[in-house]
């Protein structure tokens, strides 16, 4: 498909999902009432559903961008903040800072970024010595994830007051997220997203091998490190607010690439479309888990992990779209 109609279609889907998300829930709200404003319906939407939907939307977009950046930075088709241990590291950072200084932390995002850097660097250090092959990166990410998740669990258990809260946050989801959460989240995501878009031509060059990149005048190593750092920030912010969520960062860029012509697959097109798709996916997951006929609806992270994991398995099969 050409890039422009595909992008228009995605934007339409995203807006549709947002409307569906805002009108679904324990109190059904009619679209017309919502748009008209005023009354209880408007209050529910403005104070409860809109912040939650916006957190989901921005998180999905940031995770998709993060995945796309990782895939480019390490030239690995399986790049994803969840699968490379970055999310687990960020979760450990957030949990530790909440336990050590529950009041002092002005934002949970900063310790998340620190933890994400540490975990990402570890994964890279292990995977680099194994030649950065697609599968090695994920297995190294797994080892790092397990370690940081175990650390997170220990801290969570020892910190009795927060155990319940932290456990639910660690599943990943957008239930009960507030305007405050959204305000912690958006500056990082907007800043990171714009920066990524600004260096789109460099990203195109980085998809080539280092020799070619150098031939067009790039310090490939330094740029890859910078892109990786940007990916960590874009992953840590949503992790700090919505918990660790995997597979969105892997799936969104891949599905986007499949959607558009080879000629149009430049980062200036890929990045915004991946972000739109990521936002649509998380919004959809949040809406569907809320619409399930259950007494207690599960957080969106559960649905994302189930469907995302299955999609990962399908795409990476021998006959699948992603070559390993």
């Amino acid at each position: 498909m050409r890039a422009r109609p595909a992008a228009a279609g995605l934007a339409f889907c995203a807006v549709g999902c947002l409307c569906w998300n805002l009108t679904t829930g324990a109190v059904p709200v009619r679209l017309a009432d919502m748009l008209a404003g005023g009354g209880d319906a408007a209050f529910v939407v403005r104070e409860l559903r809109l912040p939650r939907a916006l957190v989901a939307l921005v998180s999905g977009a940031a995770l998709a961008l993060s995945g796309a950046l990782i895939q480019t930075a390490v030239r690995n088709p399986l790049g994803d903040p969840g699968l490379t241990g970055v999310s687990a590291g960020a979760a450990a950072g957030v949990t530790l800072s909440l336990s050590l200084a529950p009041v002092a932390a002005p934002t949970p995002v900063l310790p998340g970024i620190l933890g994400g850097f540490l975990a990402g660097a570890l994964t890279l250090a292990i995977a680099r010595r194994t030649g950065l092959s697609a599968i090695s990166l994920i297995l190294a990410g797994l080892a790092v994830s397990i370690f940081f998740l175990a650390v997170t669990s220990v801290v969570t258990i020892l910190n009795r007051d927060l155990t319940q809260t932290l456990f639910f946050w660690q599943i990943g989801g957008f239930i009960n997220r507030t305007w405050g959460d959204f305000h912690h989240l958006w500056p990082w995501c907007l800043g990171g997203g714009l920066l990524a878009l600004a260096i789109a031509p460099v990203l195109d060059a980085l998809t080539l091998d280092d020799t070619t990149a150098r031939a067009v005048g790039l310090n490939a190593h330094a740029w890859r490190a910078f892109v990786g750092a940007l990916a960590v920030i874009l992953a840590a912010a949503p992790t700090a607010i919505a918990g660790p969520i995997a597979f969105v960062g892997f799936l969104s860029p891949h599905l986007t690439r499949r959607m558009i012509d080879a000629a149009a697959r430049r980062h200036v097109v890929l990045l915004p479309m991946s972000a739109l798709l990521g936002a649509t996916l998380t919004l959809l997951a949040d809406t569907v888990s809320r619409a399930l006929p259950l007494d207690r609806s599960p957080p969106a992270g559960v649905l994302i992990a189930i469907l995302g994991g299955l999609a990962f398995l399908l795409l990476t099969r021998r006959s699948g779209a992603v070559r390993l």
């Binding site: 292990i126 995977a127 010595r129 194994t130 030649g131 599968i135 090695s136 994920i138 297995l139 190294a140 797994l142 080892a143 790092v144 397990i146 370690f147 998740l149 175990a150 650390v151 669990s153 220990v154 258990i157 020892l158 009795r160 319940q164 456990f167 599943i171 995997a246 259950l294 007494d295 207690r296 599960p298 957080p299 992270g301 559960v302 649905l303 992990a305 189930i306 994991g309 299955l310 990962f312 398995l313 990476t316 099969r317 021998r318 390993l324």
Partner: protein, 341 residues
């Protein structure tokens, strides 16, 4: 006396020491000298404590550890994959999902008043292990079928297992979150791999499976040892290669399932122990099996002691302690394999 005979005799003694340590430590510390007598008699409060709580807990740790370790050894030998482990291959995840799903259904249907601290108690005792076995076998078949491409590439199989396991554990979490809130907490604890509040009934759940499974492993291990050579050589030595492999994998799933059904999905014991045994220079298959049985038990017992004493009266589930050990080993294995290439 050769080195391996010495090890063979030393290991049961070490397991006994670990078991005594496990029964000594806890919220109430007891002198080691009296623990031994308390196991076999006495009616003091402390003797009751040892007999009713610490003894079954220690026995389950020993049995679950042996089962998981031998499961890992069988998988690693049969598939010639040094990354093979019931956790990594999603086998434990399958057993856990089957148990949690049936448990969720039974809670929803029966709506019991009593709150079980160990969530599997919502199920009839005799059904626990068979349900876990069904789940484990289905997961094993699923992972191997998905990873198959005219053969099983070790890393691709591990990757497939990991992602499949993630899907299964998300589904398990989804089931748990539909439970009433009071039950969610205990179920999450169980899911981390825990030995909290186990009693003798749980020992009887795993014991027959452990005995039968370990005995069958002893029968399979000798022919399986031929698979150290490549499949063609093994076949020319008269080994029915595929049948042996399938038997070993089914056996491995059974052992892992029985461990999960009493202790929850305790991770990475099956990865850690066989590598530790090999690192100790034990190469003969039967000696490896013997080593895994004891070292697996010792590892889980000690990990449980650590989890219990780290922050009394709180408890860190044993599965988290084994994960903390397993992660660095996995990283080391990835690095070593590459260096050899």
């Amino acid at each position: 006396m050769t080195r391996s005979t010495a090890l063979a005799l030393l290991l049961p003694c070490a397991a006994l020491c670990a078991a005594l340590l496990s029964m000594r430590f806890g919220a109430v510390s007891l002198p080691v000298s009296s623990v031994f007598e308390m196991v076999f008699g006495g009616s003091s409060a402390e003797a009751t404590l040892v007999q009713r709580y610490r003894l079954p807990r220690t026995l389950i740790a020993l049995l679950a550890g042996s089962n998981l370790a031998v499961s890992g050894l069988l998988l690693q030998t049969a598939l010639r994959n040094s990354l093979a482990d019931p956790t990594i291959f999603g086998i434990s995840g399958g057993a856990a999902l089957a148990l949690v799903a049936t448990m969720t259904i039974s809670v929803a249907v029966a709506n019991p008043d009593a709150r079980a601290i160990v969530p599997t108690e919502y199920l009839p005792g005799t059904l626990i292990a068979p349900i876990a076995l069904l789940g484990a076998l289905a997961a094993t078949a699923g992972v191997l079928a998905l990873a198959w491409e005219g053969g099983l590439d070790p890393r691709r199989t591990a990757l497939t297992g990991v992602i499949f396991g993630a899907v299964l554990s998300a589904a398990t979490m989804g089931c748990i979150l539909t439970l009433p809130e009071a039950q969610t907490q205990f179920a999450i604890l169980w899911l981390a791999g825990s030995l909290y509040a186990r009693d003798m009934a749980h020992v009887w759940t795993i014991l027959p499976w452990a005995i039968a499974g370990l005995a069958a492993s002893a029968l399979v291990m000798r022919p399986l040892g031929l698979l150290r050579f490549d499949a063609t050589t093994a076949a020319s030595l008269g080994l029915p290669v595929q049948a042996t492999r399938v038997t070993a994998v089914v056996l491995a799933s059974t052992l892992a399932a029985s461990a999960v059904s009493v202790a929850g999905p305790v991770g990475f014991v099956g990865l850690l122990v066989p590598h530790a045994v090999r690192a100790a220079g034990i190469t003969e298959p039967m000696a490896q099996l013997w080593g895994c049985i004891w070292v697996g038990g010792i590892l889980v017992v000690l990990a449980d002691v650590l989890g219990r004493t780290l922050a009394v009266p709180l408890e860190v589930p044993v599965g988290i302690c084994t994960s903390l050990l397993g992660a660095p080993l996995l990283a080391a294995l990835l690095l070593r394999k590459e260096a050899a290439r």
